[in-house]
């Protein structure tokens, strides 16, 4: 099978804004994304995955989205940073990846 180049955007942020980030990703034309619980250490302290997060929405998630379009990937990363990271904790980065079925990662054209 052929392999193709694509870009993966990784966003690690508070679960509370997951819905808004997902909306932003879909608006950028991506076809899907993956969400997993995340923990670790950053500028705003340690977040754990195993311990009960007593307060709703204050645990972290890792959101991954792969797209064939480098522009769309950049747009997602920039918009998330501008809109949320003044007030919410989070980081975002881009990775070059190889994908197999190219049509899964093609941009949806917004009508």
């Amino acid at each position: 099978m052929d392999h193709f180049k694509a870009t993966k955007v990784v966003i690690i942020t508070e679960q509370m804004i997951l819905d808004q980030v997902a909306h932003l990703i879909e608006n950028a034309g991506a076809r899907g994304y993956t969400v997993t619980p995340a923990g670790g250490k950053g500028s705003r302290g340690v977040r754990s995955t195993g311990r009960a997060a007593v307060i709703d929405g204050f645990s972290n998630v890792k959101i991954e989205v792969i797209t064939g379009s480098k522009e769309a990937a950049n747009r997602i990363a920039d918009e998330v940073t501008e809109r949320f990271f003044d007030h919410y904790s989070g980081i975002t980065y881009l990775e070059e990846v190889e994908i197999l079925r190219q049509d899964k990662f093609a941009l949806l054209i917004q009508s």
Partner: protein, 335 residues
């Protein structure tokens, strides 16, 4: 003098109740750096169990209750929810070193209600066979929602003044729906509805009621560990939050106790109901209030308001507040 001694001996007996013991046990474990953790899903299930049980019991009892007696306590609850936040805005939010939005958000949480504190008080009253009207737990949203709305409103007014721009319209409707959809309130309200409209007696007696105390102890242990863990966050904010977190719950509770006493004189509101009203007013939201405030006042620092509520306010409300109101009611009404 004798009266005071009797009062303190009653207070001491209350301290030995299992719920308080587990809360302090949780704090002790976290302080010792214990590796014990309660998984998130178990914690969530405990919250669900407690509120479903409280709701079902209330709903089943409301069938025969006279709801017109609820009007005055409900009005008092709404008044308290608003007053607590406004007083917090005029005191805490004006203190040196306290960021105004952070202060308003903190006052909002202290005006809102903690389901776990309410559950502890109900368990204690049941242990001692103190009667309260079945609809008293249903006062929860009457205080919780107005407090959050007022806090968000005050924060928006303040922020608009800072920026000199027109203030954003507060989405009152979305705050109400958000609160009603929160884990705690939706379980409570569904329980009330099922208790009222259906006959859940058998599942209540065989499952929810017997397990109530056990789950409450696990919840208290988790809250205790969380309270201690979050104390470290308090180091980064002004010391005034600790002072407010320690004093405000008791002031709010005593104010509610006084208003409840008036309702007792006017409409025969039960002494048990007065205690629970004081507990609801003295509690500060720890599960569903913080995300609502975080979404509506994003510029406020969550370490400040969650730290003061979870690490200081809730332990004070449970460990000192609940026994205090019961002892006080004992002295005033002679339970």
């Amino acid at each position: 003098m004798e009266l005071a001694l009797e009062f303190f001996s009653r207070l001491l007996t209350q301290f030995q109740s299992p719920a308080l013991a587990f809360l302090m046990g949780g704090m002790l474990l976290a302080a010792c750096g214990s590796k014990l953790t309660i998984p998130d899903s178990i914690y969530r299930f405990c919250v669900f169990m407690l509120l479903m049980r409280i709701g079902l019991e209330g709903g089943m009892a409301i069938r025969e209750a006279d709801l017109s007696a609820m009007i005055l306590p409900a009005v008092i609850s709404i008044f308290l929810g608003c007053a607590i936040v406004i007083v917090g805005r005029l005191t805490l939010a004006r203190l040196p070193g306290v960021n105004t939005e952070d202060g308003i958000a903190t006052a909002g949480l202290f005006g809102a209600v903690s389901a776990s504190t309410l559950a502890v008080a109900m368990a204690l009253l049941e242990e001692q066979d103190v009667f309260y009207e079945a609809w008293v737990p249903a006062l929860y949203p009457f205080m919780d929602i107005p407090a959050l709305i007022i806090a968000i409103l005050l924060a928006n007014i303040y922020l608009a003044k800072q920026k000199g721009s027109k203030r954003e319209k507060v989405q009152v409707k979305s705050i109400i729906t958000d609160s009603l959809r929160s884990a705690a309130l939706s379980a409570l309200l569904l329980g009330l509805l099922l208790g009222l409209l259906t006959h859940p007696e058998r599942v209540f007696e065989s499952f929810y009621d017997p397990l109530f105390r056990g789950f409450l102890s696990v919840l208290m242990l988790t809250m205790g560990m969380e309270a201690w863990t979050r104390l470290s966050e308090m180091k980064r904010v002004a010391h005034w939050y600790i002072v407010y977190g320690a004093i405000a719950p008791l002031m709010h509770g005593l104010l509610a106790f006084g208003l409840g006493y008036i309702a007792h004189e006017l409409t025969g509101f039960s002494p048990g109901g007065v205690i629970l009203l004081a507990v609801i007013a003295g509690s500060s939201s720890d599960i569903s209030g913080p995300p609502t405030l975080r979404a509506a006042i994003p510029s406020a620092n969550p370490s400040a308001y969650i730290g003061s509520s979870t690490s200081v306010g809730t332990p004070v409300a449970i460990v000192i507040g609940v026994p205090l109101y019961i002892a006080l009611a004992d002295a005033v009404f002679g339970l």
